[in-house]
């Protein structure tokens, strides 16, 4: 495992929101890292900061409500929070906290982030019903992300393909004839032996004096349209090298992007992708929409995929299918995944490592097996106990008393202390730090660090 390189490193990340009641300390210094090809599961109750972590990494915290106030996120070679923190700061005034926004920095930040977001780093949202734009077709929504990040890849795809389609030929001819670029047309014809037969005809049309240029163009393009013997096996590389590619790109790119979109849809096992591509989101079921969202997220082969409760809104069978797709991505395409959920069953199924979050802190982190077999933190133990098990259906289901505290005035010391069964004096005053109690198993709880100190 040590040979794997770290792809995402979050250090002491703090995110705060401004509200009427005061400053909400949503993330209180969390640290974790994800290695390449690894899946980290982030679990916790609702409102403990899981989604905020994801949004902080993506720089999607709305600048009107909150900001990252400290820490460091390193994704590959990029520092994701530097400009973000410069753009938006939380300042304490006498009465209430306020956000100070610098527009120029925000622009700079989003320009920087837009190169990363959707490309190397992408995200799946929780609600497939609302994640897709209701007034755009599925195809448009997929090709949009391709245009944003993959123009050069699309171009290469066009150039690298062996055979030329008849449609493409027509696009080229249209450009040549309309753009009056007959020299290119001859070059093009020269390169393709199959077309030699029509060269004399074109020359004859060009040399006629009795008709207008417009008419000549029309006749030439008719010639190509009628000629069914146009060979579709042409050495494209030679052709593309001989011409200035960018001029023909827009229409060809669109075709190519649509092809890629269809491939992506079949990758996430959507039946009849050619039909789905012209459909609108409301014509698809929830599971299908989530597949489309995944297709968009993986369109540019991201290095890290953040999945924010991707299966929460789906029924169990669909959930299993979606999980299979995500597992395939991880195993076959060796994508790193940050998987956020409150469902411990899902986590045990998919992730290599688990981080348990409580009220803006990570309280325990371990390999999945270790965590499920030997949970250390009282909160983790409570969570695991509250999973219903068939054999125990006669006994009452265990639950952790109380709920996640208000993060405007979080409890002093360990934030879990009001709900903890093992609460001690030190828990109420001092915040525990993450300590490694076993190999690759760390926990932030005084129950474990106490022994070492004494």
């Amino acid at each position: 495992m040590s040979g794997m390189n770290t792809i995402l490193k979050v250090e002491d990340l703090k995110t705060q929101f401004v509200s009427w009641n005061g400053l909400v300390k949503a993330l209180d210094g969390i640290s974790f890292e994800i290695r390449s090809g690894e899946c980290l599961g982030l679990v916790g109750e609702t409102g403990c900061g899981k989604s905020v972590t994801a949004l902080s990494i993506m720089n999607l915290i709305p600048e009107t409500s909150g900001a990252v106030t400290g820490g460091k996120i390193t994704f590959e070679d990029y520092n994701l929070v530097e400009t973000q923190m410069a753009a938006c700061k939380v300042i304490q005034t006498k009465t209430k906290p306020r956000l100070k926004v610098r527009r120029s920095k925000i622009k700079e930040n989003s320009r920087k982030m837009n190169k990363i977001r959707g490309g190397m780093l992408s995200m799946i949202f929780q609600e497939p019903m609302t994640t897709l734009n209701p007034v755009m077709t599925i195809g448009e929504q997929i090709t949009d992300v391709l245009y944003a990040h993959q123009i050069s890849e699309l171009t290469q795809r066009i150039i690298a393909r062996k055979s030329i389609t008849e449609e493409e030929l027509r696009v080229i001819y249209k450009h040549c004839v309309e753009g009056n670029d007959l020299k290119f047309l001859f070059d093009f014809v020269d390169l393709n032996n199959g077309l030699k037969g029509i060269v004399p005809q074109i020359e004859f049309i060009i040399n006629r004096k009795d008709i207008t240029n417009y008419r000549k163009k029309k006749m030439i393009s008719d010639l190509f349209d009628k000629d069914r013997s146009v060979p579709t096996q042409i050495n494209r590389l030679k052709v593309w090298k001989s011409i200035r590619v960018p001029r023909f790109l827009p229409p060809l790119l669109k075709q190519e992007a649509e092809k890629v979109a269809i491939e992506l849809l079949s990758k996430v096992s959507i039946p009849e992708p050619t039909k789905v591509i012209i459909q609108y989101p409301h014509e698809l079921s929830g599971g299908m929409r989530q597949r489309v969202v995944i297709a968009i997220a993986i369109a540019c082969n991201p290095h890290l995929l953040i999945a924010d409760e991707p299966t929460t809104a789906l029924d169990v069978t669909t959930q299993a299918q979606i999980l299979d797709i995500i597992k395939d991505l991880k195993n076959i395409h060796s994508m790193s995944i940050l998987f956020i959920t409150h469902d411990l069953g899902v986590i045990s199924d998919i992730s290599d490592k688990v981080a348990v979050m409580y009220a803006g802190n990570i309280v325990e982190m371990a390999y999945t097996e270790n965590l499920f077999e030997r949970p250390k933190h009282p909160y983790t133990q409570g969570l695991l106990k509250s999973i219903p098990v068939y054999e125990q259906k006669k006994t009452e289901l265990a639950a952790i008393p109380g709920s996640v505290p208000n993060l405007v005035h979080p409890p002093e010391g360990c934030r879990f202390n009001p709900r903890c069964d093992h609460v001690m004096e030190i828990c109420r005053t001092t915040k525990p730090v993450m300590t490694e109690v076993e190999e690759n198993h760390s926990v932030a709880c005084w129950l474990y660090s106490k022994k070492e100190e004494k």
Binding site: M58, R111, G118, M136, V145
Partner: protein
Amino acid sequence: MNLVGYVIRRLILVIPTIIGATLIVFLLTRAGGTNMIIAAYLNPRIPYAVQKAALVAEFHLNQPLYIQYFYFMNGLLHGNWGYTRTGIFSGPVTTAIGIYFPNTIQLAIVAFIIAMIIGIPLGTIAAVRKDTWVDQITRVIAFIGISLPIFWLAQLLQTYLGTPQGIKIFPLQGTVSSIYLSGIPWINNYGVSSPTHIMIIDSLIHGNLPIFFSAVDHVILPAITLAFFTLAGIMRYMRNSTVEVLNQDYVKFARAKGLAEPRVIKKYARRNALIPVVTISGLTLASLLGGAVITETVYGYPGIGYWTVQAMQNFDAGGILGATLLFSFTIIAANLVVDIIYAYIDPRIRLGE
């Protein structure tokens, strides 16, 4: 797509709506009593009792109501909308509508275009820059626009832009300078131009630039007055619906895709934000077409609202009836157009089974 099917379904729905509208208008006129209906046809030189019997027979007023309604609808369908007799025009209602309605159309459309061109972008900017000074300024503009009484704004504009007291740039009255009202072959005695009856378009068709500029000059002040009021509503609607859309997951997802912010706003937010705005602006246009009574009266602009006021002041039942019917048909047509645009923008509507 099934857009065509949707339009056909929607068109069929118009028929019962029209029957309902005409029924209500018909009942209201009948509630006014016999004298009110026949007043426009009375000749002061002939004794009342003699005329009354003849008119009651002519209009089938002694028949049951549903028979009367049948005759009424028959008249409407044959273009017989009754007679109007006011200080500015006496004659068939249809002719009066032909004279005054085009002026209103011209005014309403100019005002509407001004309001949309300014309102939609300002609303979008206010939403994107929510709670900043841009938002505050547009908010103040909207409040002024909504709360300023129209007649006062009209008079302010007249005073400071139309009289020597301020700067005299714009004319005060009418649709076109009075020197053009005689001697031009395509303008008749009532000041109605042919073929479209809309002065701005007709002057361009005939290539008469002085009349064109005069007509534009005359429409600007009333149009600004109406536009300011309309603009305020459209701007606030656009702002609020954009704010709402910007909070939606799909906008967040569009940003997560790495699309540039202008593209997110233009392609993902705006079209969704426009959906509620289309409704309100369609109905706004309809109410503008129904005649801006106050504006047209203050500016002496011979539109449908001006004519309606004249009809009311003259107890002219035919005129009021005609104006009411025209207004209800305009609203029905506007609703129809709004629904069709709606279906075009929002593919979810087309499903509606």
